[in-house]
């Protein structure tokens, strides 16, 4: 009996074998299943009866496995999905209706259902996400609060540094000035320096000053103090030694443009006085006009 060929089986046996294989999902390919389904759809009462019997038997096989309860969570999740299914069956995705047979073995239908069933996020995922979001916001706020004072501190430091740099410049300038002042004092208050008051002839008002260092043979004249003289005169500085005038030279300016201080080297240590004259034009034979005179003997010594 077991070794008989399928071709030798009668029609009823053939139906019985197909039904058994169909019920346990063992038919090899879709064509074979379709053939059997068509046979059923052909309203073969025997086939339908056989199949129903096999389905009941396979259900018995199903109940022989170790029994385990599904989690309650599965029902909750199922009900949530059910709420998204259209009330009207005609609105269900077309692929869900591709086969009317109740015991179809098609493999694509469940996958198609998945395609249009909205995915529901689990509550603990939402809760976890919310907690994470709150945590991130809290940390961000705290970070900003911490950064506020930091910014103020940095600004204060920058301001302090700027002030320090400014003070350093001021101090450096002051030190430079102090140094210059010390030099000036050394020059002006040197006991060896003689201050010569230069006055216009016949006038007792000091119009200009010369500082003479006999030891160093240097004469410093603040020429800018000359006023009220004829413009265009070329200046000459003289020293008086033993009643004789020695020409020390000319500053590079005429009387109307004279500015600054001038040094004349080397005056004689025996000078008794100094003069400043002005000469019109560049001809050396033109007469000199005496502009200022100063007597060393009359000068105020810095000693």
């Amino acid at each position: 009996m077991n070794d008989r060929s399928a071709h030798e089986l009668d029609y009823q046996t053939h139906i019985r074998e197909l039904a058994a294989a169909y019920a346990v999902g063992a038919l090899d390919d879709a064509a074979e299943r379709t053939y059997f389904e068509d046979l059923l759809i052909g309203k073969d009462a025997e086939a339908i009866q056989q199949l129903a019997a096999m389905f009941e038997t396979s259900a018995g096989l199903a109940t022989m496995v170790p029994q385990v309860d599904a989690l309650h969570e599965t029902l909750s999740s199922l009900l949530k999905k059910v709420h998204h299914v259209p009330k009207d069956p005609s609105q269900i995705h077309p692929l869900a209706h591709h086969k009317a047979a109740p015991l179809e073995q098609k493999t694509t239908a469940p996958k198609s259902e998945r395609a249009y069933v909205p995915v529901k996020t689990k509550p603990w995922v939402i809760g976890g996400g919310a907690f994470l979001l709150i945590l991130i916001i809290g940390l961000t706020v705290r970070l900003l609060n911490l950064r506020g004072p930091d910014r103020e501190t940095i600004a204060a430091l920058e301001q302090t540094q700027a002030e320090r740099d400014s003070l350093q410049k001021i101090v450096a300038t002051q030190q430079k000035l102090d140094s210059l002042m010390q030099v000036a004092r050394a020059q002006f208050q040197d006991p060896a320096v003689v201050e010569v008051a230069m006055m216009r002839p016949g006038d007792s008002i000091v119009a200009s000053r010369m500082y003479w260092s006999p030891a160093r043979k240097r004469l410093l004249w603040f020429g800018s103090e000359i006023i009220d003289v004829t413009p265009g005169l070329h200046l000459h500085v003289w020293q008086v030694v033993g009643g004789r005038k020695i020409d020390l030279g000319s500053p590079p300016h005429t009387i109307d443009t004279i500015k600054g201080n001038y040094e004349f080297l080397p005056p004689s240590p025996q000078a008794t006085g100094f003069e400043v004259t002005g000469q019109a034009g560049s001809d050396p034979s033109n007469p000199h006009q005496t502009l200022l005179v100063g007597n060393v003997a009359a000068a105020t010594s810095k000693k």
Binding site: M1, N2, R4, A6, T13, R16, E17, A19, A20, A21, A23, V24, G25, A26, L27, D28, L40, I48, L51, A52, A53, M54, F55, E56, T57, S58, A59, G60, L61, A62, T63, M64, V65, P66, Q67, V68, D69, A70, L71, E73, T74, L75, S77, L78, L79, V82, V85, P89, A96, A100, P102, L103, E104, Q105, T107, A109, P110, E113, R114, V117
Partner: protein, 188 residues
């Protein structure tokens, strides 16, 4: 076996009433069906796919399928329970076969090794059935139903003709059916 979980002799009137409510999209009906069959569906799914996550997903899928297609149920082809469990079995087998194909495409050598281990699951039929069913019929039923193998695959695994597999399977199933019809074997 939990008496509440399955009832192969469930009264047709009960099925018809609950199906009527399902077709009207009454949610309590779905909850009732779920409580009545979830244990069997989940157990079968877990036994076949061997993974809790997949089994829960499959359980949910099956009941959603029932909710959407209750109007397609044909009582002349079996009870509501057999419909639900057959849907579960077919879908689980489909998953098994897809996994097997995926594994085979990457691990051809392991496929040969696995066939030598068949059946990979122990004989898990009830003692009464195991004692009364010839071993060769138990073998093909187990390979087909619990391992999701086709007739050709069983033939290759056992090195016997497909026709022999087909006959043994049919004979075993019908014998089981007769045993199930006997008093005392209906549900335990």
């Amino acid at each position: 076996m939990n008496p509440d979980s399955t009832n192969l002799q469930a009264p047709a009137t009960g099925d018809q009433e609950i199906l009527k409510q399902l077709r009207e999209r009454q949610e309590p009906a779905l909850i009732e069906v779920y409580h009545r069959y979830q244990r069997a569906v989940y157990s079968l799914a877990l036994y076949l796919v061997g993974e809790e996550t997949k089994a829960r997903s499959l359980t949910q899928e099956i009941f959603l399928h029932i909710w959407e297609r209750a109007s397609h149920f044909d009582a002349s082809r079996g009870s509501l329970e057999s419909w639900i469990l057959t849907l579960t079995h077919h879908r689980a087998i489909e998953i098994l076969r897809n996994e097997r194909t995926a594994i085979a495409s990457h691990k051809t050598s392991e496929r040969e090794a696995s066939t030598s281990d068949i059946p990979r699951r122990s004989w898990d039929l009830k003692k009464a059935f195991a004692e009364k069913l010839p071993i060769e019929q138990q073998e093909v039923i187990t390979l087909a139903y619990y391992n999701g193998m086709t007739l050709t695959e069983i033939s290759e695994s056992l090195s016997i003709p497909v026709e022999t597999v087909r006959h043994r399977l049919s004979a075993g199933m019908h014998l089981l059916h007769d045993l199930l019809q006997q008093p005392g074997n209906s549900n335990e």
